[in-house]
Subunit: 156 residues, 2 copies
DNA sequence: TTCGATGCAAATAGTTTGCATTCTA
DNA sequence: TAGAATGCAAACTATTTGCATCGAA
């Protein structure tokens, strides 16, 4: 994933695209909205709404949590953002585009992110077994990682 | 799944077993505890804590929601109950034993329950692909059902 | 007659909503 | 300057916890 390293660069390049996309739906590119987008792009992985509101490591000014949720929702409807749930806890948000699928360990909560395609075989097997088109980008594929599976087999 | 059809029968037969199991861990079989167990066995599928507290269709006297949560937790630690999360919304509880795995449609929220074993092929494929031991009894296998997948393919 | 369990109330986490004010286009 | 978006507060859902009282063994 090619992520701009400077906030200024990002603001200059992607803001225009974002503004255009938003405008085409009768929405505005406000300061708070831009902040959400920047936080998402600057983060090195999926982040919570809380983290975005706090400013993701102090790199951007903090904003109101309710507005962050509202903006994430609007941006997701526009296809610019997507969210996922990895186990319990708050939802996680990421910019759309860099699609990944997640495999979560119920034992140690470790989470493996793989490019879409890595699980094509699994998808095919699921399709054959129950006719469903499996997707692990919103809710993860849950199970036990090799280590936890071994511990489980040997009886804790 | 063979489920007793009469509350009295259930109370007479399983109560003793339950009482013994509980006692062996220094716990008591109180009225509220028995009510939780009865609600779980009488329900025709996984139920929420709220439904148990309400009395699952008025068949048993209602009890305190906090106590229901506490009891579900204790009973789960003893291996008599297990819970699962199907998408958003409250957790669902079921008696342990009748193990099932769940496949949830993200499109229409329909949920398919299959006996453990139906997804052995999927488990094998996952094992080969990422080394994880997949389990769909706590968190479901999420995707699109045949109908929703078709709609999705044809562009809404 | 002891502790474990209960019921009630209050706290908690995560998220949503109402509303007067602010700011973008 | 119309109306979209904001910030603050309050509501909401799901769940947990504190505590005085109650009851099973």
């Amino acid at each position: 994933m090619t992520v701009p390293s400077l906030t200024a660069e990002l603001a200059a390049s992607d803001s225009d695209t974002a503004a255009r996309t938003l405008r085409s739906r009768g929405m505005r590119l406000s300061a708070a909205r831009r902040l959400v987008l920047e936080a998402l792009y600057l983060a090195d992985g999926p982040v919570t709404a809380e983290e975005i509101a706090t400013g993701v490591g102090g790199r951007v000014p903090p904003s109101d949590l309710a507005s962050v949720y509202r903006n994430l929702d609007r941006l997701e409807r526009l296809g610019m953002v997507r969210h996922m749930h990895l186990g319990h806890g708050p939802g996680l948000y990421a910019p759309a585009g860099q699609e990944r699928e997640y495999i979560l360990c119920e034992g140690c909560s470790s989470c493996l992110a793989v490019g879409s395609g890595h699980l094509e075989g699994v998808r095919a097997t699921v399709r054959a077994a129950v006719g469903f088109e499996a997707r692990f980008s919103h809710f993860p594929l849950v199970g036990l990682c090799p280590t936890c599976a071994a511990v489980h087999r040997d009886g804790v």
